[in-house]
């Protein structure tokens, strides 16, 4: 970065909020994805703006001098959406971290972009309100990041994802104008849905600085159960039947045999190691409604051939059942050091077919792939285990991922249910969108960002 431009940037945000040291900047060549930009991808500067106005000035400067800008929250996305490249300025938005308003009467909250999602959730829950999206990173990811990635989570089947809660945004457009999208109302059809356009745009269409979300009443109670199946098809059928019966669980986590073995090996819960699938199901709502719901799920699962059904009778027992799910990752980490999580998503009834495909792919490429799914919404997390020092294995992993993605499209699914395209899946996007879809996205990108300033590495402006 030229010294005069650096000086201008320092004038905008203050010297204390600019990182220039090589080692300091090197720590932004990565995010939570499996890729990094390497030494040559070290950004030219890392900047921590404190307001929308500062972001606006920075973006105007970027257009003037033509340097790329990559917005970043906590850097916890797993798609390579915030990985740096040389000449880029990283815009870390964490300083803007105030909860501006929790409007209990209208059940809404407004936050600055850098507020940690779990902090908002804790604050609204103290008031008997509920912000449901629950990405695994919610204790450290930011609301801005959740908006940019349209983050989901296990509660998706019942409560939807980030998109379903955002009413309005304050956004700095790539050319520097500060705009308000949507409205702080429950209904709003004034013009194009710019709010929707920004959600999931992965930092390519604007820099979000404020987020207004709607809230729900906090469910009064929840109940948890663990169901074991000796056959994946039966488990999947049970999932479908539960929904058909009109019961919508808050979470429905499916663990496959590889997960079950690894977990049992690690925490010794007495899970049957030959079981093909375990479903961890949680229902929430009014206390009085939960008993019948659990009973109904229990009957359906038994009818579909469940080999065991365990219902937690209190919070402590529920917690014990959750141990299996919570220790899933650590259990796999003991098997191999490098873990890559995919998130191909299919229709609920395609889950068995997709899991079988993944099994076949694992065999073909001689790699270990465990599957964990948010079964309620068909969001499968194929988890690939490897050792990054083993180049041959890493090549086979890459082949396996490619084939999982193309297979997902073949069964009518999507490349990504909640992680985003980022850099990691960039090359596959045309397969899903087709040339027409790609052209439309490029037109939108260049209309808003004519100089291709914001996060150009994702390729929407190419």
């Amino acid at each position: 970065m030229r010294k005069d431009i650096t000086d201008e940037i320092k004038q905008i945000v203050g010297t204390a909020y600019v990182l220039e040291g090589f080692e300091d900047k090197y720590c932004y060549i990565y995010d939570a994805s499996a890729i990094d930009a390497g030494k040559n991808g070290t950004p030219s500067l890392v900047v921590f703006p404190g307001s929308a106005e500062e972001v606006s000035c920075l973006l105007k400067l970027a257009n003037q001098y033509n340097f790329p800008v990559i917005p970043r929250g906590a850097g916890t996305n797993v798609s390579g959406g915030t990985v740096s490249h040389s000449d880029a300025v990283i815009l870390v938005l964490k300083r803007m971290d105030r909860i501006l308003e929790i409007d209990e009467r209208n059940m809404m909250a407004e936050v600055e972009v850098g507020v940690i999602t779990a902090r908002l959730q804790d604050e609204v829950e103290k008031r008997g309100l509920f912000y449901p999206p629950d990405p695994a990173s919610r204790s450290f990811s930011t609301m801005g990041g959740n908006v940019a990635e349209n983050a989901g989570g296990p509660r998706g089947a019942k409560y939807g994802v980030t998109r379903n809660y955002v009413l309005s945004l304050e956004v700095v457009l790539p050319t520097g104008e500060i705009i308000r999208t949507g409205a702080k109302t429950m209904k709003d059809v004034a013009g194009y849905d710019l709010t929707g356009l920004m959600i999931g745009s992965e930092g390519t269409l604007g820099v979000v600085t404020k987020v207004t979300v709607k809230l729900l009443p906090l469910p009064q109670a929840k109940k948890t159960m663990l169901v074991v199946f000796d056959d994946l098809g039966k488990a999947s059928e049970a999932v479908a039947q539960v929904f058909i019966a009109g019961v919508i669980p808050a979470t429905m986590e499916l663990l496959d045999n590889i997960y079950i073995r690894a977990i049992e090996d690690y925490v010794h819960l007495g899970l049957p190691v030959d079981a093909e699938a375990v479903l961890l199901i949680e229902v929430d709502g009014d206390e009085i409604a939960l008993g019948p719901q659990i009973e109904s799920i229990k009957q359906i699962c038994t009818r579909q051939g469940a080999t065991s059904v365990r219902v937690a009778s209190n919070a402590k027992e529920a917690d014990e059942l959750w141990v299996a799910r919570r220790s899933a990752f650590a259990a796999l980490a003991r098997v191999k050091p490098t873990i890559i999580g995919e998130d191909c998503t299919v229709k609920r009834d395609k889950i068995p077919q997709m899991v079988r495909k993944i099994r076949a792919i694992a065999e073909k490429y001689n790699v270990i792939i465990a599957v964990l799914g948010h079964a309620g919404d068909g969001n499968l997390h194929a988890t690939l285990l490897a050792d990054e020092r083993d180049k041959d294995e890493m090549a086979r992993i890459e082949g396996a991922i490619d084939e999982i993605l193309t297979s997902t499209l073949e069964v009518g699914g999507t490349l990504t249910g909640e992680h985003g395209i980022g850099r990691v899946k960039r090359k596959f996007l045309p397969l899903q969108l087709g040339p027409g879809g790609m052209k439309a996205m490029k037109a939108i990108k260049l209309a808003l960002d004519p100089n291709n300033i914001l996060n150009p590495g994702l390729g929407f402006g190419d």
Partner: protein, 418 residues
């Protein structure tokens, strides 16, 4: 070799969970301040992406409290405490230690007699360098000799704890026989805490050995990357304590206990003559609260009428796993109400020499702790490590608060006042 660290480094999946618990990251906000970033920097040193002798690299690796909170929240179980310690050792091997650190650790620590003579002189000469803070709170520096001028420290005692007592203190009908590893802070800065521990042991019918030949646990050396000195300290402690005919070796300092229980066997793994003995010592070592909780407080306790909040020392709770025993003992004192603060296990920012090297930063970290303490309305804060006591006292002083800050042993001993 940096490559020796690769096995642990690649286990980090960069998820960022460490951000939610790291006290340093909370203040600095830069990736380089949290475990994920530091691991990436160590990886860069392995790859040859950076010059490991650069001043900035060393500075960034020094910004860690070794509090262990990150590894508790790490889904893939990276042992960051160990990894960063090994990185600092590697760095010290390449660059050598800074002159002052080298003088203190190599010349002072390794020579026990010199160390004690120096500290005895220190107790006489310290008024040249320090002045008394108002109301007996401690000492404040007169000159900016590398210490922040506002830094409140404890005066060096003119008579160290160990020099006041015979090596063997017998009781009649002993329930247990223990050896007391005092550590440097209790011996030289807080001898009154040593007296409290001794009083509690005697009043609960425990015979005590206080070996005169004992020395530093080596924690300051190890956290600064001086492995050789830490090994010397470990050998010395193993020689002095491992063969003693006692039921347990008792510590009253979170960091000393952590060294004896976890680090010594690790440091001495390549010294067959010492390794096995270090494991025996590790198994025998317990915190004094574990011993007292085990045998139960006996005798009549005076009513204290105090609202107490307990701060978990990082090394006591996370490395030694001592959490319930101090609370149980404090709670059994008549008139004591225990009020839990938010996140009692969050580091106070003291962290040994960290608070000397990074005083401003450690002040900001202790401020969080003070907010949590104040929110409990407690009149007394209790901690099981003299370093935490010193640092929280500094914070209390800087904030003009009147909260008492005591070592666990000191408060329980008050209940035994006649």
């Amino acid at each position: 070799m940096w490559t020796d660290l690769e096995r642990e480094v690649i286990r980090c999946i960069k998820c960022g969970a460490c951000q939610s618990v790291c006290p340093v990251f909370r203040e600095l906000g830069a990736e380089s301040s949290v475990a994920r970033g530091k691991i990436k920097l160590i990886k860069a040193a392995i790859r040859g992406d950076l010059d490991s002798r650069s001043a900035n690299f060393g500075e960034l690796l020094s910004r860690c409290l070794l509090c262990g909170a990150c590894q508790e929240s790490c889904p893939s179980g990276v042992n960051f405490h160990d990894l960063l310690t090994r990185a600092r050792i590697q760095l010290a091997e390449e660059k050598g230690l800074p002159l002052l650190t080298r003088l203190v650790l190599r010349l002072g620590l390794r020579n026990r007699r010199l160390f004690e003579v120096a500290l005895n002189f220190g107790s006489i000469g310290q008024w040249l360098m320090f002045r008394h803070a108002p109301e007996g709170a401690g000492m404040l520096p007169r000159l900016p000799m590398g210490l922040d001028m506002r830094r409140l420290v404890a005066p060096v005692s003119n008579q160290s704890f160990r020099s006041r007592h015979p090596e063997t203190i017998e009781v009649t009908n002993p329930k247990r026989k223990v050896a007391f590893f005092t550590g440097c802070m209790i011996n030289h800065l807080y001898p009154e805490t040593g007296e409290s521990v001794l009083k509690l042991l005697r009043r609960n019918r425990v015979s005590v050995l206080i070996p005169a030949g004992q020395h530093c646990c080596g924690a300051p050396a190890l956290s600064n990357g001086d492995e050789a000195t830490a090994i010397e300290m470990a050998k010395s402690a193993v020689n002095t304590f491992a063969a003693l005919d006692v039921d347990a070796v008792v510590t009253a300092c979170g960091s000393c206990g952590a060294m004896l229980r976890k680090q010594f066997p690790e440091l001495l793994r390549n010294f067959p003559k010492y390794f096995e003995k270090s494991q025996i010592l590790a198994r025998k070592t317990i915190d004094f609260t574990e011993l007292l909780a085990d045998i139960g407080l006996s005798g009549e306790l005076t009513k204290l009428n105090r609202n107490v909040t307990y701060h978990d020392s990082c090394h006591l709770v996370r490395i030694q796993g001592v959490k319930d025993q101090p609370r149980q003992l404090l709670g059994s004192i008549p008139g004591v109400t225990l009020s839990e603060m938010q996140q009692p296990g969050r580091c106070c920012g003291g962290a040994g020499s960290f608070s000397l090297q990074h005083y401003e930063l450690s002040r900001k970290i202790v401020q969080q702790k003070l907010n949590d303490i104040v929110a409990t309305n407690a009149d007394t804060v209790v901690a099981g490590c003299p370093m935490c006591v010193m640092h929280i006292r500094d914070g209390v002083h800087q904030n003009g608060l009147t909260t008492r800050v005591l070592h666990t042993a000191d408060l329980i001993a008050e209940a035994y006042d006649d």
